[in-house]
């Protein structure tokens, strides 16, 4: 069923009784061309683009819970392409361009809102770093503006300009950055993939990976039985290691928990996405009025989708320090997502040493904004067995070869990225 204002009116006049399911609930077929493990944003986007762009529709997405139950539904909804390195920037810019046309593409309003992402800087050294990054963006034709203190003040007068511990000296603004309603991304891709014939199989957990005589992947054992496939694609952020271990994959990944927060509903006060350079705080306000924010990971390895109080307090300290007016806003809910922290802070979209096994992993806590490009490039790789050029640096062997994509220059300690 195509969604439009007209469809809403027609349905309303018949008592909203005739809406049909957004996706089917099929039983798994014995064999698929492609099985994607993980019904999150990346997995569903991969299925969608496989079907739409590459004509591969005999595809199953296998999800152990409900679709969108992972990080696509527990992030702070920010999209941007303000990256420094040549291995990252064109990829994220492709993603941003896909975001810009996404809703009409999959006929679902995910509320892509290009309200601008402003990275604040607080020292000369940080300004130089941001300028370097902004210039890299400009070199790739990505919009970037370096704002001085007064320009920042006009954009966000509520920031702590006069009583801060660290001065707000300016910011790097990407106007095309913004936010997206996160759950809707999973639902929109799922609906679009389903309409093109993809089977979305929820509540089906992969328990093993079956290998053939040559070591090649033949299919997956699941809680709904064995399902065969020609190609197996992993997009199981947070559980990559667990699934990868079923095929003896050795991965440069450590799992960590990141908390996020939402305040009570408030009338609009924060128009942009703001990030704090003297800490790690980031904030935006949802269309529903909740302030959505977060800061650092909890730093220890964790598969528990919940964090601890010290990190909560640290986040609030940074938030109130940057925006004093938040002091009387009330935090409503805190939650946690588990992420694949890779050893250089950048993702992997690549073949694996195992035949027929493809890997999409290591998104750290930047995976949401990457969803469209990740799905597109992964689909490209699976369909053509050939790396899409914008993801060519996201190789699994880059660590061994010494070509890490260390956007922050932090080195091989996953919790530093």
């Amino acid at each position: 069923m195509r969604y439009s204002a007209l469809s809403i009116i027609k349905q309303a006049l018949s008592g909203n009784r005739r809406w049909t399911p957004a996706w089917r609930e099929p039983e798994p077929k014995p064999h698929y061309d492609v099985i994607i493990v993980g019904g999150g944003g990346h997995g569903l986007a991969t299925a969608y683009y496989l079907a739409k762009e590459f004509g591969i529709t005999n595809v199953a997405v296998i999800e152990k819970g409900y679709i969108g139950s992972g990080n696509v539904g527990r992030n702070t909804t920010i999209i941007r392409s303000n990256y420094l390195l040549e291995g990252n920037n064109p990829f994220y810019e492709m993603s941003l361009k896909l975001w810009e046309g996404l809703e009409r593409d999959f006929n679902y309003n995910a509320m892509v809102s290009q309200r601008g992402v402003l990275n604040l800087f607080h020292s000369d050294g940080q300004r130089d770093e941001y300028a370097r990054r902004g210039n890299a963006m400009r070199l790739h034709g990505v919009d970037a503006d370096l704002l001085d203190r007064e320009q920042v003040r006009r954009l966000a007068p509520y920031l702590n300009f006069d009583h801060g511990r660290f001065p707000v000296m300016g910011g790097l603004l990407q106007k095309r950055g913004g936010t997206v309603r996160h759950d809707a991304v999973a639902w929109g891709y799922a609906r679009g993939a389903d309409a093109r014939g993809v089977d979305i199989i929820q509540h089906c957990e992969v328990t093993g990976i079956r290998r053939g005589p040559g070591g090649e992947v033949e299919g997956v054992e699941t809680t709904k039985g064995f399902i065969g496939c020609n190609r197996l694609a992993l997009a199981a952020a947070g559980n990559t290691t667990t699934v990868g271990r079923m095929a003896d994959l050795a991965l440069p990944i450590e799992t960590h928990v990141l908390q996020a927060f939402v305040s009570e509903g408030l009338k609009p006060v924060i128009d942009n996405v703001i990030t704090y350079g003297a800490g790690h705080f980031y904030i935006s306000q949802s269309d529903k009025g909740g302030l959505v924010f977060g800061a650092n990971i909890d730093y220890y390895s964790s598969y528990a989708q919940r964090g601890n109080l010290a990190t909560v307090e640290e986040t609030m300290q940074e938030g109130v320090s940057l925006i004093p007016g938040l002091s009387r806003a009330k935090a409503l809910r805190a939650w946690g997502g588990v992420m694949d922290m890779s050893m250089d802070g950048s993702p992997i979209i690549d073949r694996t040493p195992i035949d027929n096994l493809y890997l999409n992993a290591g998104w750290c806590y930047g995976g949401f904004k990457a969803t469209p490009a990740s799905g597109f490039c992964f689909a490209h790789l699976i369909a053509k067995n050939e790396t899409h050029h914008v993801s060519r640096f996201m190789r699994l062997d880059r660590f061994e070869r010494g070509y890490v994509l260390d956007e922050g220059g932090k080195g091989p300690q996953p919790n530093m990225h």
Partner: protein, 90 residues
């Protein structure tokens, strides 16, 4: 854990007194192959469940500790001094 760590030298302390480095992996000796060094620096077993992790009691005794914990339930089974546990394992 996550909230409190019982340091073998200082007693029970809040998490923020510590900094976490990551999985406990032995540093290869100089004579080991490149592959061993690559695995040491870049590859992580990353199991779900029992985990041995290096924590530094930065605001306390400044000792490096091995925290033996469950990364799913966050239960802590034990905390030992990294040096003592290294020597003990020899």
């Amino acid at each position: 854990m996550a909230s409190l760590i019982t340091c073998p030298h200082c007693g029970t302390r809040p998490k923020e007194e510590f900094s976490v480095r990551g999985a406990v992996i032995a540093r290869p000796s100089a004579s080991e192959k490149d592959e061993a060094w690559h695995r040491y620096v870049y590859v992580r077993d990353n199991p779900k469940g029992r985990y041995q992790e290096y924590w530094h009691h930065a605001a306390g005794c400044r000792r490096w500790l091995v925290v033996n914990r469950d990364n799913l339930t966050h239960e802590v089974f034990g905390v030992t001094d990294a040096q003592a546990s290294r020597e003990g394992s020899r």
